[in-house]
């Protein structure tokens, strides 16, 4: 499914103080977009607003012309710290949870659901770990387990909040491979990230924020020192006078 996520004049505020300010940008399916910017630039705020977890103050967000409130299209992977890894569930169980929003309260699991869950485990490269409890996975595998769940949900837009945080080199590479597989199958991934060094390898596009949009475009053209300076050396724009 190809599509465009259109963000128009988006402002998101905490207690009436804007954290993301009048953002206008269009993102296309089949791309893996790095959301860059200093701490407090509004990266998590933007992801949460797109996911519907924070109220939007101005503007609108639509995917292929429809408002994205149609929740099933969008999936949000939270930062690692907020997840209860002791929850009694296996990797397969987590992927199956992704089907709940498709199946509703009652509809039983059918052959198609089983097939999609199997596919999800394959995309996340976790088939061999399907019966492991979440805590018995490494950090990178845990992150990929959430990708499997999102795939099972048949989501089109993946919102990932700092998924590379705390991953070592091998785990990062395996995770990058997984999100690139998702991109190549036509999904739109928006990934908040704080390391500028590896951004070039990970993302085909970058969106640089510091409260407002600094720059958006293909990584090679956009991740240049002029934009980085603008994002990181000035104080963060909060919309409030000091």
């Amino acid at each position: 499914m190809s599509g465009r996520l259109i963000i128009e004049d988006l402002t998101v505020s905490y207690h009436r103080i804007p954290a993301v300010h009048h953002l206008d940008v269009q993102l296309a399916s089949g791309s893996c977009i790095g959301l860059l910017g200093p701490n407090g630039a509004g990266k998590t705020t933007l992801l949460k607003a797109l996911a519907g977890l924070l109220p939007i103050e101005t503007g609108q967000v639509s995917f292929n012309g429809h408002p994205i409130a149609a929740a099933r299209l969008i999936t949000y992977v939270p930062q690692r710290e907020v997840v209860d890894w002791d929850f009694p569930i296996t990797v397969r169980g987590l992927a199956e949870m992704g089907r709940y929003s498709v199946l509703g309260l009652w509809k039983p699991f059918g052959a198609r659901d089983e097939a999609i869950v199997g596919e999800a485990l394959q995309v996340a490269d976790l088939t061999a770990f399907a019966n492991r409890q979440l805590k018995a996975l490494s950090g990178g595998q845990q992150q990929r387990a959430f990708l499997a769940r999102a795939w099972a949900q048949e989501a089109e837009i993946y919102l990932l909040d700092e998924p590379f945080g705390g991953l070592d080199k091998n785990a990062s590479q395996a995770f990058a491979a997984a999100i690139h597989r998702l991109r190549d199958s036509g999904k739109l991934l928006i990934v908040s990230h704080h390391n500028l060094v590896d951004a070039r390898e990970l993302f085909d596009h970058v969106l640089i924020l510091n409260g407002e949009l600094v720059a958006f475009g293909p990584t090679d053209e956009t991740l240049i020192s002029e934009n980085i300076d603008r994002a990181y050396s000035t104080r963060i724009f909060t919309g409030r006078k000091r």
Binding site: A71, I74, T75, P78, F87, P88, I89, S101, L105
Partner: protein, 293 residues
């Protein structure tokens, strides 16, 4: 084995048996959600906060089970909502706000019982007596069991999503606040139904111990609720037998059985028990030694 059936020649024991199965299974099933949401202490607070409602009901309309049910239910919901309001409108956090209110309510309950029209002993409310269970109590328990189990089975999927990761559940359009509110109401209902059997102070055991035991044994949430229900029911029956033969009160006997199972799982559980973990560590150590040699 005829001694097993012996106690049930008495009518009051057969009634107690039925009550034990109903209350044990319902509380054990619901307990899975309490343990997963880490609501054990909130549930404890709610059990104590029922007391002023029970006392008020006893004062106004006597020992009528319907009245007691409503009194306990309202008092507990009042404390739960009050705690939520205080926590969200001041710097005091949730558990402190609930603790402050429930202990206040508990003290008020003890004071109010003195003024009850009918003479009731505080001990009866605090520790219960499954052997004295009346038909109306049984009917109440039956209705509460049906409502609780049907709600939990029907809402299993959204509940699990909400308990596992609330923010992800919200992105899928699930009303997390509403579900958790419903969960608190179900907890209060289950406690009201176990009141007659084990009392205010021990009702928490029926709710938390079965699921906590299974949590130490396996990695399946489905097993936690269904298994918790089975363990709850079987332990309640076993406790009833022990109370009959050893001549100890039924409430403590039931909780002692459940507590023993929990400690057993903690000590000897094959995967998460400390004994097996300790044995496994030594094994790993030898393995790594060999690699070095």
């Amino acid at each position: 084995m005829s001694w097993l059936a012996g106690p049930f020649e008495y009518e009051f024991m057969r009634r107690a048996l039925l009550a034990c199965v109903l209350i044990g299974f319902t509380n054990g099933f619901l307990g899975a959600y309490v343990v997963l949401r880490r609501l054990a202490l909130v549930a404890d607070a709610l059990s104590h906060s029922m007391l002023p409602g029970l006392a008020l009901a006893a004062m106004l309309i006597g020992l009528n089970p319907g009245g007691l049910l409503l009194g306990g239910l309202f008092a507990a919901i009042f404390v739960a909502l009050g705690g939520h309001v205080i926590a969200s409108s001041s710097r005091v956090k949730d558990e402190t706000a609930v603790a402050a209110l429930y202990i206040f309510a508990f003290a008020m309950g003890i004071a109010l019982i003195k003024y009850a029209r009918v003479k009731i002993s505080l001990e009866h409310f605090l520790f219960g007596n499954v052997l004295g269970i009346a038909d109306t109590d049984l009917l109440t328990s039956y209705c509460i069991s049906v409502v609780t189990l049907l709600s939990l089975v029907a809402l299993q999927r959204p509940l699990l999503l909400a308990l596992f990761e609330a923010s992800v559940a919200r992105t899928q359009g699930i009303r997390v606040g509403l579900l958790l509110g419903l969960l608190v109401i179900l907890i209060v209902l289950a406690m009201v139904s176990s009141l007659q059997a084990v009392g205010v102070l021990l009702s928490l055991g029926l709710l938390v111990l079965p699921a906590a035991t299974i949590y130490l044994l396996c990695d399946s949430y489905a097993a936690m609720s269904w298994g918790g229900g089975v363990i709850g029911a079987v332990s309640a029956i076993a406790g009833l037998q022990i109370s009959f033969w050893a001549n100890i009160p039924s409430g403590p006997a039931i909780i002692l059985v459940l507590g023993t199972l929990f400690l057993g799982a903690y000590l000897f559980g094959p995967k998460y028990g400390i004994t097996s973990r300790w044995l496994r560590k030594r094994h790993m150590h030898e393995e790594s030694l060999k690699r070095w040699q």
